[in-house]
């Protein structure tokens, strides 16, 4: 008998699929193309997931909550050399799942509602909702999966729905290109992920998360540790593709070709976050090297995207790059071991970024499909609701205090600082530095956007005529607030971007329920794998000590740590370090223990020295992080004000002055051009070459052989015709001619015959006599 929550979650999973099936087949036959159906079903979905959320999060308030159910999907029977082998499919619910479930279904529901207004009157209105349904289904599937195989399946399925929705306006070539680009880029990431899955499967003959963790913990991983690191990085490649991380980020901005609600749902809130969610799922098997790679990728992505976002004109592109940047933050957070912080940011970001996108959608809707910020402006009075909600979300994104974004981003940055310390500074400080710098840039370009869109005078008339593509009369319409169907979601999402939802303390998300319920899990990678990092750990600990001369207790503790590391051999080390870490944590926690869950939010007890040290260091750096981030955000906003409000600096002039930099940023670091020149052109060239090779060489050989055989055939045929036949004909000819000659002898006259006879006889007689003589 399944647990009731499992049954509920299965219903949650299948409802959107139902919506898809109904709408894809019957949307033409249904009134209003059946949008009410989709909205209703999604409402139910949200209701049920809210119920699950209530059950798991609010009622049972247990960090270690976990519920799993699975069934045999494929039965390979008794496999030689392996024994009975089944592939299981299943569902796993823990706190994170419950939260994600609620988040996804909520945003999906809101987007459905919003779309009824935004997409009304579209040619393929019903189909649109069907696609939303299948997307929601696959996204929920990712969230609920308990094994790598099913997560890969839903992974690809969200890829498909993203493909379908990006290319929803498929008559536009740009949309068609974008959808293809998105799918292929994701595929590149997916093959990495698939290889990672294969590495793990080939060792354990199972896909289940739990089994794999158990096996690795038990040290059943028989390949070299390099393979384990490789597995981690390859699995992370899936995230790189899906979450648009640094090498494969190019598809996400183009994905803005899709309808704006879709951008909000898929390319801001949920799907792109799925990569982060997946990395969180596999967090425990990541080796230190893998984590370092992840951290750097995240940092680079965050920084690069932020720099690009500064110079974009398209309102949606700016948001897209900010999304990439924020995803970079999350990945960075995971890389540095700030697990719960990263997921916290995932959650908060989902809400405010969805709000931003929907807001931008509202603006675009109101502006009659004008997306270029240069021709906007002065909308604050015309669209007050949008303005307010958009601003709140912007502040959250920029990371101003009193917003959810502030808490999560701060937590990540704190983790990054701690990580840098533990890892021994040097190059590792690049990560927090890039993080802070990106935070400043974020504040800057969001301020820029707010100003360009909402303040100043309307610049619609400035738009050059030749850019009036298609919508001949657009822009001259009176701009007015969007209908309630589109306003309501904005309000809800903006409300969810406020700190109070997550934590009572506007400065410390760690006091909130999220950080309490979603805690950094213990790594399962055996310590001896990390023994080379262990010295790091000790070294970091001492560094930490060096940096915090203040509190003597901590110092003592850290001394203790280092002594222990110096002294004993490995296992003692773990124990003592853990003890040390814990004690430190306790003491350090004491002053903060104000609220009811206070003493629990410091996370679990780590056996792993490194994690212990990082957790400790992260807590150390919480306050500095708040300080730094507040400063950089202030800097960013100030810069925006200086440039755009007070106009001390003329952006055009500046752009001219630093033209190469400007162009580099404006052209997105030329990644598209690079890929087009290398990968795409290259593979097309190879394909042309191979096709030529196939047609001319391989087939040429075949035909050559054929021709050779044919030549030989004709030759032998000629021999047959002229020589063999010739002989026959010659014989016939000879007989004929000689016969004709002989015929002349046959006169038919008696006397001729007689003469012959006589001549013959006489001749014989004469001969005889000559003989005798």
């Amino acid at each position: 008998m399944m647990h009731s929550l499992i049954q509920l979650s299965i219903i949650v999973l299948l409802l959107p699929l139902l919506s898809f099936v109904l709408l894809i087949f019957f949307n033409r036959r249904l009134p209003r193309n059946g949008d009410f159906l989709a909205v209703g079903i999604l409402g139910a979905t949200f209701a049920i997931s809210a119920w699950i959320f209530w059950d798991v999060i609010v009622i049972g308030y247990d960090p270690s909550f976990k519920l799993a159910w699975s069934f045999n999907w494929i039965d390979f029977g008794d496999v030689p050399g392996v024994g009975p082998l089944q592939i299981k499919m299943g569902i796993m619910i823990d706190n994170l799942t419950a939260i994600m479930l609620a988040m996804v279904s909520l945003i999906s529901f809101l987007v459905h509602v919003y779309s009824t207004g935004y997409m009304s009157g579209d040619k393929y209105y019903g189909r649109y909702f069907a696609y939303l349904g299948i997307f929601t289904f696959s996204m929920l599937g990712i969230v609920l999966s308990d094994n790598l195989f099913s997560i890969y399946i839903f992974w690809e399925l969200v890829g498909l729905s993203s493909y379908l929705l990006i290319g929803f306006f498929f008559e536009k070539d740009s949309a068609a290109d974008a959808q293809k680009k998105a799918f292929l880029t994701n595929r590149v990431g997916d093959i990495g992920m698939w290889l990672g899955i294969l590495i793990l499967y080939s060792q354990f003959h199972t896909f289940g998360f739990e089994e794999i963790y158990e096996h690795i913990k038990a040290g059943d991983f028989h390949m070299s540790q390099a393979w384990l690191t490789a597995a981690g990085i390859l699995l992370f490649m899936g995230c790189v593709g899906k979450s648009a991380q640094f090498p494969l980020h190019v598809w996400l901005p183009d994905a803005m070709e899709g309808p704006t609600p879709v951008s909000a749902l898929i390319h801001a809130a949920t799907m792109v976050a799925a990569g982060v969610y997946f990395v969180a799922r596999i967090f425990v098997i990541l080796t230190v090297d893998a984590l370092h790679v992840i951290a750097f990728i995240g940092a680079i992505t965050a920084f690069m995207a932020a720099t690009i976002a500064i110079t974009q004109h398209d309102i949606k592109r700016v948001l897209a790059y900010s999304t990439v940047s924020q995803l970079g933050y999350m990945v960075l957070g995971l890389g540095v071991g700030a697990y719960s912080a990263a997921l916290f940011h995932l959650l908060t970001h989902a809400f405010f970024k969805a709000c931003l996108f929907l807001g931008s959608g509202a603006i675009i809707h109101a502006m009659h499909h004008e997306q270029d910020m240069r021709w906007m402006g002065g909308l604050s009075k015309k669209m007050p609701w949008t303005f307010v909600t958009f601003t709140i979300a912007t502040l959250a994104l920029a990371g101003l205090p009193l917003t959810s974004g502030f808490m999560s981003k701060d937590a990540i940055l704190a983790g990054a600082l701690g990580f840098a310390e533990v890892e021994g500074g040097g190059i590792y400080y690049l990560i927090p530095i890039l993080g802070f710098f990106s935070a400043m840039l974020t504040a800057f370009y969001m301020g820029r956007q707010i100003w360009l869109v909402f303040f100043g005078e309307s610049r619609t008339h400035l738009k050059p005529a030749d850019e009036h593509h298609g919508h001949d009369d657009h822009g001259h319409h009176e701009v007015h607030e969007v209908p309630w169907a589109m306003r309501m979601p904005l309000v809800v999402l903006a409300a969810l971007s406020v700190f109070a939802v997550f934590s009572p303390d506007p400065l410390d998300g760690a006091k909130g329920w999220f950080m309490h319920l979603v805690q950094t899990p213990e790594t399962v990678v055996a310590a001896d794998v990390q023994h080379e990092n262990l010295n790091n750990a000790h070294h970091d600990a001492s560094v930490a000590q060096g940096e915090n001369k203040g509190a003597s207790a901590e110092t003592a503790a850290v001394e203790h740590v280092s002594d222990a590391v110096h002294g004993a051999e490995q296992e003692n080390v773990h124990a003592s370090v853990a003890a040390a870490g814990h004690s430190v944590v306790e003491e350090h926690a004491a002053p903060h223990a104000t609220d009811d869950h206070g003493d629990e939010h410091h996370g679990p007890v780590f056996n792993d020295p490194r994690q212990a040290a990082i957790a400790h260091a992260a807590h150390e750096n919480h306050d500095p992080a708040i300080m730094y981030s507040s400063i950089v955000v202030a800097l960013g906003i100030g810069l925006a004000l200086i440039v755009y409000v007070f106009g001390f600096i003329n952006p055009e002039k500046t752009a001219q002055r630093i033209r190469p930099l400007y162009l580099y940023s404006f052209n997105k670091w030329y990644w598209d051009e690079i890929y087009d020149a290398t990968v795409i052109k290259g593979s097309l060239l190879i394909s042309k070459l191979l096709a030529w090779f196939d047609n001319n060489i391989v087939d040429g050989i075949v035909n050559g052989v054929g021709a050779l055989v044919r030549k030989f055939g004709t030759a032998s045929g000629g021999f047959d015709q002229y020589v063999v036949d010739g002989m026959v004909n010659f014989t016939a000819f000879f007989v004929q001619t000689s016969g004709a000659a002989m015929k002349k002898l046959q006169t038919g006259k008696v006397q001729t015959y007689l003469v012959m006879a006589l001549v013959a006889v006489t001749g014989y007689i004469v001969y005889y006599f000559v003989q005798v003589m």
Partner: protein, 105 residues
């Protein structure tokens, strides 16, 4: 000179040889069927001369008797041959042996 004075066997043989040759010549060369028959008669006579000559010079009667028979046969032969010639003439309206080549092809 003795050869010419005393008539011996060889003289008869030479005559028969000449007759035989002439008859043969007639048979081969002449077109007229009748003349061909005459040649046949000549050959027969030549043979007869031989028979009788040998019969005389070794004193047996066989040659004589055969000569007699040969003559009888010659008579029969002549009768038949003439009848054939006449039929031939009726059929082909000629006695030209060479013009009768219906055996040809």
């Amino acid at each position: 000179m003795d050869f010419f004075n005393t008539i011996g066997l060889n003289h008869y043989l030479v005559i028969s040889a000449i007759l035989f040759g002439l008859g043969l010549f007639a048979i081969v060369t002449r077109k007229n069927a009748i003349v061909v028959l005459m040649g046949v008669e000549l050959v027969l006579n030549a043979a007869n001369i031989n028979l009788l000559a040998f019969s005389k010079y070794n004193g047996g009667m066989e040659g004589v008797m055969f000569g007699l028979f040969v003559i009888v046969l010659a008579a029969a032969e002549a009768a038949i041959a003439l009848a054939i010639v006449i039929n031939m003439y009726k059929t082909f309206n000629t006695v030209d042996v060479s013009s009768i080549d219906s055996m040809k092809e």
